[in-house]
């Protein structure tokens, strides 16, 4: 992330240790992951060691330290989700994007993950795409949703390289 953008985020939250999570969360919101360089810069700003910042980030599944897609698809894999057909939904998305769970598409647009309970056992199968939630999924419905994202991306000619955000 550019120095300027990062400084703005840090200034907005402040430099106390307790602001570390909000700062890291906002960086992930803006560019989908934390680069080594960003973590060093945040550490300097908050007068922490880089290891402390990395140690914190690496604990949290929503604070990735490896490159991810612009859109992170998180399909719930709780027992209830499984009973209601989440595996078929996952398979459909996986086929559509030619992407296995844990991977990111070559164009940097999508990452696919399976996650623990996301709080929708009354409407499984469910998934999150960044901070939007989709429930009562079927393979068809999930495919339609992903198609919309693909359309949107091609219309806005999104730069598929998340580091250029």
């Amino acid at each position: 992330m550019e120095e300027f953008a990062l400084t703005k985020i840090v200034n907005h939250h402040g430099t106390e240790r307790e602001k570390l999570m909000p700062i890291l969360q906002e960086i992930v919101d803006k560019q989908s992951y934390l680069s080594d360089d960003d973590m060093v810069k945040v550490a300097n700003a908050l007068q922490l060691s880089a290891a402390e910042v990395y140690g914190t980030a690496s604990f949290y599944s929503f604070l990735p330290t490896q490159k991810r897609g612009i859109y992170v698809i998180r399909v719930c894999k709780s027992i209830i989700a499984r009973m209601k057909g989440s595996q078929e939904v996952l398979q459909a998305i996986s086929d559509q994007l030619n992407l296995k769970p844990g991977e990111t598409t070559a164009d940097g647009l999508f990452s696919l993950e399976e996650v623990n309970d996301i709080g929708w056992s009354d409407h499984e199968p469910a998934m999150l795409i960044n901070d939007k939630v989709y429930t009562d999924l079927t393979p068809e419905k999930a495919t339609r949703i992903i198609s919309k994202y693909l359309e949107q991306a091609s219309q806005s000619k999104l730069s598929f390289n998340p580091t250029q955000n």
Binding site: Q25, F59, Y60, D117, D122, D131
Partner: protein
């Protein structure tokens, strides 16, 4: 809120989602009362924490009030990560104002001037709408002359951060690793200041009890499990949803209402709770005298493999263990590998006994409630459904 079928024996109430009261006038009314009077009302009501552990809420507030210092915090635990739970989501969607007013009440009573909602990252879709409501509330507090301000902090996808001391570590910008207790958060919590951590639902009931009175609340439920509670019902049921029911119900009555006619087991209290087989429905009470639950009720019918259920829970624990203490870090993995090995015939069926010993050791030796409760689901599923686990 969903309704029950006509012939249900369960007593369904509508305290939390009832719309007959204006939230701010409830708060205003409470602010006219003496602080100790409210604490006593809560103690008498028998309200116990709705997040799972069941600590008496009035006592918690009393300890926080008497803790020295003028910098205190009240935290709303909205981490709701227990598999099968979603009632806090519905409260925050439909009655967030009552949660916020409950926090303000706790602030007034204990002297905390700062309220923090710790919202799980998986619920970030509701963050903006909550922020708007918080702005309104903060303005209203000012108008009421109450020195209290609310803010939201987000979680980042770690179940263990629902444990109150891990939650505090996380808010301090650290790894969500539970602390040793004591000291408890009411003595040394966020930034080492006295901190009350309460579940979303608990805070709403505290507000309602200040209005309804202890007796009206304790008129529901049983001696040890006073009042009503929200249940998140899911799985093999035609009526998945959130229901407010009287505590102390018999599981058989619950299944008669929510089952699909073929219920073989109910997992009470999520992955860290207990599995009850059909033959025990009749003798199982839902509440602190029987099986307590943070609200998760997962129903399984006879088509479901309990091996898959247990396997799913163990995978969950392996992923969510913070790894800080070895009984839990190693134990979760060994239990998972162990049932896989038995299934694959690489280990004899008798190996299950050893696995149960591991689970029992975890209960004694783990540092926090996560590792301590893995044995709940493990023992109850293995003991009741041995054949399904082995063959």
């Amino acid at each position: 809120m969903e309704t029950l079928t006509n012939n249900s024996t369960l007593r369904k109430t509508d305290l939390i989602f009832g719309r007959e009261h204006d939230t701010l006038s409830l708060l205003k009314e409470a602010l006219q009362r003496e602080k100790d009077e409210i604490i006593n009302e809560l103690i008498e009501s028998g309200l116990r924490g709705r997040g799972g552990a069941g600590f008496p809420t009035g006592l918690k507030w009393k300890f926080a009030k008497s803790a020295p210092g003028n910098e205190k915090y009240i935290v709303c635990n909205a981490d709701e990560g227990e598999p099968g739970t979603f009632k806090d989501r519905i409260i925050l969607e439909k009655a967030a104002d009552k949660v916020f007013a409950g926090m303000a009440l706790g602030g007034y009573v204990t002297g905390a001037r700062h309220g923090i909602i710790y919202l799980r990252g998986e619920y970030s879709w509701m963050r903006n709408s909550l922020l708007l409501k918080i702005d309104d509330m903060n303005t209203a507090f000012k108008q009421l002359g109450l020195d209290f301000i609310l803010e939201i902090r987000m979680g980042s996808g770690a179940y263990v951060c629902g444990e109150e001391t891990a939650l505090i570590e996380s808010m301090e910008g650290k790894r969500g690793e539970p602390r040793n207790k004591p000291p408890f958060p009411v003595a040394k919590g966020f930034n080492n200041k006295p901190t009350i951590v309460n579940n979303v639902e608990t805070l709403v009931y505290a507000l309602l009890i200040s209005h309804l009175g202890a007796a009206a609340f304790a008129a529901f439920g049983t001696e040890q499990s006073a009042g009503t509670k929200l249940f998140s019902v899911s799985g093999d049921t035609p009526q998945a949803g959130v229901y407010e029911l009287e505590l102390g119900m018999k599981l058989s009555d619950f299944v008669a209402e929510f089952g699909d006619g073929d219920t073989k087991a109910v997992q009470v209290g999520g992955a860290s709770g207990f599995c009850v087989p059909r033959r025990k429905f009749d003798q199982t009470i839902i509440g602190f005298e029987g099986i307590p639950t943070g609200g998760s009720m997962m129903l399984f019918n006879s088509h479901r493999s309990m091996y898959h259920v247990l396997h799913n829970y163990l995978e969950f624990f392996v992923e969510e263990s913070c790894g800080q203490c070895s009984p839990c870090r190693v134990g979760c993995q060994q239990l998972l590998l162990g049932i896989e090995a038995i299934k694959a015939r690489k280990k004899p069926a008798s190996y299950l006994k050893e696995l149960i010993r591991i689970a029992d050791t975890m209960r004694l030796a783990s540092k926090c409630g996560l590792g301590q409760s893995v044995g709940n689901a493990f023992d109850s599923i293995v003991e009741e459904f041995k054949e399904e686990i082995i063959y």
